[in-house]
């Protein structure tokens, strides 16, 4: 009896081991697939070879030369300016929109609310062309400003929808309580409404920021001859082979994005935890 039991146990253990190792392999493959390209970019930013196909030796040269590559650096700064400005603008517009739709009842509200999904659902290339046609019909020279406007148009709906989802669970009695305690309209907004929906605003802002940093297609239609973002610039350069200092810059950007994402999640989680709500996982 005991012998059979032991055999069964052993078999069970073997099966579990098999299952576990399969799960680990599967999971690792997924992550490898996701992160290997990124790791290669980081690795090749330290490659001595200019031909980038094989790793020949370790160097910091490209990280140094990156800072003297004016056109590359400029596009990097442009990316940051466009992303920063469009994020701030779409957060403000999107938040006000969500709050307005929450507070007021008006005609065509459902039409307006459903039409938010159009810029999200429409193919980017169509969106890009229509923006280009719009700007040229107004005889506006494309450049930084048009790019910022374009980025606001596609990221604002994401902010609005994220903030609106947050507001949906908001207790209207909180605003009444604030007013009851003597707070006027603006104090009620800044002391109660805004802090309550802040986790949603941060999520929306992060979404807007990453969408803007990522964007190639719409920026391709709305950039100007001397106002290009980093993705656009790298795309141009890649036709003649990407210089390794672009890898270095890309690595810098990856690190920056990860740091911003993690810290915003940290802030958000601290807020949610204090309020006894469920936290978001990174």
């Amino acid at each position: 009896m005991a012998d059979i039991d032991a055999k069964i146990q052993a078999k069970k253990r073997r099966n579990r081991l098999l299952f576990n190792s399969a799960a680990i392999t599967y999971g690792s493959l997924i992550y490898l697939f996701l992160y290997l390209p990124i790791l290669i970019v980081i690795l090749f930013s330290f490659n001595t070879s200019r031909m980038n196909l094989t790793f020949q030796g370790f160097t910091f040269d490209w990280w140094g030369s990156m800072f003297s590559n004016r056109t590359l650096l400029e596009s990097f700064y442009n990316s940051i300016i466009v992303a920063g400005a469009s994020t701030i603008l779409s957060v403000i517009i999107g938040t006000l929109g969500a709050v307005g739709m929450y507070k007021f009842e008006f005609k065509l509200k459902s039409v307006l609310s459903n039409s938010l999904y159009i810029p999200i659902a429409i193919p980017e290339i169509v969106f890009g062309i229509s923006l280009l046609m719009f700007f040229s019909s107004l005889h506006v020279q494309t450049g930084m400003v048009t790019m910022i406007i374009a980025h606001v148009t596609f990221s604002m709906p994401f902010v609005l929808i994220t903030v609106r989802a947050r507001i949906a669970g908001h207790d209207r009695a909180l605003e009444e309580a604030a007013k009851d305690l003597g707070a006027g309209e603006s104090h009620t907004f800044f002391r109660v409404t805004l802090p309550c929906i802040m986790p949603g605003i941060i999520s929306g802002g992060m979404l807007a920021l990453t969408l803007s940093l990522d964007d190639v297609i719409i920026s391709a239609f709305t950039n100007g001859p001397d106002a290009k973002t980093l993705p656009i610039k790298i795309l141009e350069l890649s036709r003649r082979g990407v210089p390794p200092d672009a890898y270095a810059l890309s690595t810098l950007m990856i690190i920056g994005t990860v740091v911003i994402m993690l810290s915003s999640q940290l802030v958000q989680n601290r807020m949610l935890k204090k309020r006894g709500e469920e936290t978001v996982s990174p």
């Binding site: 009695a173 009444e176 007013k179 003597g182 707070a183 006027g184 802040m198 204090k274 309020r275």
Partner: protein, 378 residues
């Protein structure tokens, strides 16, 4: 006499065609504990919200300390509210929640600290300053909500079923504490509840509302002993309600006839043939083996139910209606199925005219629609 601190004159409120508060007239004196009592959906919250300024009145006027507040925003009115579900600010700790109103008044930091501590002490939450609302029990949150309102030293505090979410024991304890606070601080309380026992134990006066109409306003004893309408008799406590009509008016008294007997009342300006409702509280109804002068009513003992400190005796009348009496249990219980005579002291019964009954019938159907049958109390 002081002037009323709150005065409602002819206040009506409609949502579209739905009239939820109808011609409400009410004067509340400084320092009074007034309770608005009524079943769910009768317009209690709406009435409070009109006083606080969250809801505009459709018709009529609201006066606070003699001033018409029609165009005053909630933050301009000298009243504070304890909300039905507390409405504590989730992103602020207890201290900041309580300090909220003081910060709005730009009071110096040191004084804020002092007053918040005093308010927390008052509701027995000392040392809880840094707790977040999410880390507190229902009773504690409720006390924070009260402290947050009290710290502003309002002249009027509006409380909307503040104890609704608490268990029975905590509710009893909080009732006691609230009443004590109110007397100590001399604040006017307008207290909303649908719990009649709570209303009877705490209030100076009770306004009984039903379907948007204030059916009776008076002291708890008055409401209980002399209900003005059948609804009040039914809703507050338990009542035996019997139908009768005026048969003949003579020098010696007024003879009222029921389906199964009659009785005589001494005085009253009732008209011939007038339909009446006779309401007798179960503790005032008497069952005797011998007939009592002036009463010619009888029934059969159907059941004795022991309920600890009291015993409930149910009697079936000839028309199959059941009436009951509650009394301390005694040895001399009348045997089952024996015939007993019904009587009561003239001062211990309420006689209601059918004029009110007509109102009541209308109301009754609307109450029933909400799944609430007032007669189930019987």
């Amino acid at each position: 006499m002081d002037q009323p601190i709150i005065r409602l004159t002819g206040v009506c409120k409609s949502y579209g065609d739905n009239e939820v508060v109808k011609d409400l007239n009410l004067e509340i004196m400084p320092g009074e504990f007034l309770t608005i009592l009524g079943p769910s959906g009768c317009g209690k919250t709406t009435t409070l919200r009109m006083i606080a300024g969250f809801e505009e009145v459709t018709k009529g006027q609201v006066f606070l300390a003699g001033v018409d507040v029609a165009d005053k925003k909630p933050y301009e009115r000298d009243v504070n509210t304890v909300f039905q579900n507390y409405a504590l600010f989730p992103h602020m700790n207890v201290f900041k929640n309580v300090a909220f109103g003081l910060v709005e008044q730009r009071i110096p930091k040191a004084e804020i600290k002092e007053r918040v501590q005093a308010a927390l002490k008052l509701v027995r939450l000392e040392g809880m300053d840094n707790r977040m609302p999410s880390q507190m029990s229902g009773g504690q949150k409720q006390r924070v909500a009260i402290a947050r309102a009290l710290v502003l030293k309002p002249k009027v505090l509006l409380l909307d079923e503040p104890l609704g979410a608490l268990d029975l024991k905590l509710r009893k304890q909080m009732q006691h504490e609230l009443k004590h606070l109110q007397q100590e601080l001399g604040i006017t309380f307008v207290y909303v509840t649908h719990d009649q026992e709570e209303a009877l134990t705490m209030s100076d006066r009770i306004a009984v509302m039903n379907a948007g109409v204030m059916e009776q306003l008076g002291a708890p004893e008055q409401i209980y002993n002399h209900p003005a309408t059948r609804f009040v008799a039914d809703f507050i406590g338990e009542s035996n309600i019997m139908e009768a009509y005026v048969d003949s008016i003579t020098e010696s008294g007024i003879k009222c006839v029921m389906e199964f007997g009659d009785f005589t009342i001494r005085r009253g300006d009732y008209a011939d043939e007038e339909m009446l409702y006779i309401c007798v509280r179960p503790e005032n109804l008497r069952f005797t083996a011998e007939p009592v002068a002036g009463f010619n009513l009888f029934g059969k003992i159907k059941e004795h139910i022991f309920m600890g400190s009291i015993c409930k005796t149910i009697v079936k009348l000839p028309n199959d209606q059941e009436v009951f009496r509650t009394a301390p249990p005694s040895d001399g219980l009348l045997p089952m199925d024996s015939v007993v005579h019904l009587s009561w002291r003239p001062t211990e019964c309420s006689i209601l005219r059918t004029k009110e009954e007509q109102i009541y019938n209308v109301i009754e159907s609307s109450v029933e629609m909400e799944g609430f049958d007032a007669r189930q109390i019987l």
